[in-house]
Symmetry: C2
Subunit: 131 residues, 2 copies
DNA sequence: ATAAGGCTTCCAGTAACTGGAAACTCAAGG
DNA sequence: CCTTGAGTTTCCAGTTACTGGAAGCCTTAT
């Protein structure tokens, strides 16, 4: 499939997809006319990249994560070690994200939604209490 | 407190803290000697920025999120509306992160951890199945 | 008094895109 | 068949969000 379709399916702009190829994150085939030709496997890599980038992993971390799935040469012990390190990071992110959500949810539920600017959360988070 | 202490407490490099001031994300006091003087409230903003940036929110999104807590002038209806939009985003991120974790966890538990490179997950995620 | 370490500003460099120009390819309409 | 418009190519320049380094001031410890 062409880059436009891969872009739709992955949620990444075509520009970004070409950039990822430049830095060696994937290597799609080329059709006879010179157009890039993406397989479903490429699209999966791209979706994975879209997701992990949007979750705050650096490109290099994404490269490492991708290698967990893609690199058949890598030894299982390696895969397991790297995956375990990343798991810790992911769990930390999950905890932070959950906390952020709870705060916002509390904000939504406790605010009047009218004109009065006296949300109960605001003071707590602005640091008043702890100062 | 000085920028070094604020850096320790927030987990952000001093460089980044100055940069955030440049782009108007906080406005610490200045001591008599010209040094920046951070309050606990500043540190909370910084910790909030550290967290939300590491979770994949752009600086502009962080600015918007910060305004939910900080801007006493903003009307409650506004706060509620913005918070609800961000909640949807956060829930999506949570779902994606959970999925990523489950995949990695499965990888860790099902791999032998020895030399044999035959993790059961690898094929599924590399796109073989769906191709 | 001097040395070390932290702070200041400023300017340049990096990471990860993003936009735009000029040219080629392809599918559809006249 | 020709054209027109949309999609693709490469290349080069610009943007965002930092990050590193130089040069100089401030502070504390010997």
């Amino acid at each position: 499939m062409n880059i436009g379709t891969a872009s739709e399916k992955s949620g990444l702009p075509a520009k970004t997809i070409r950039y990822y190829e430049d830095i060696g994150l994937l290597r799609p085939d080329r059709a006879g006319n010179g157009y890039r030709d993406y397989s479903m496997s490429d699209v999966h890599r791209l979706r994975f990249l879209q997701r992990s980038r949007s979750l705050g992993f650096s490109v290099e971390e994404c490269r490492q994560l991708l290698s967990l799935y893609g690199d058949k040469e890598r030894e299982s012990a390696d895969v397991k070690a790297i995956a375990e390190i990343k798991l810790v990071e992911i769990d930390r992110k999950l905890a932070e994200l959950t906390e952020l959500r709870n705060t916002l949810r509390h904000l939504v539920h406790n605010c009047h939604g009218d004109d009065r600017p006296d949300c109960p959360i605001i003071d707590g988070l602005s640091g008043k209490a702890t100062q």
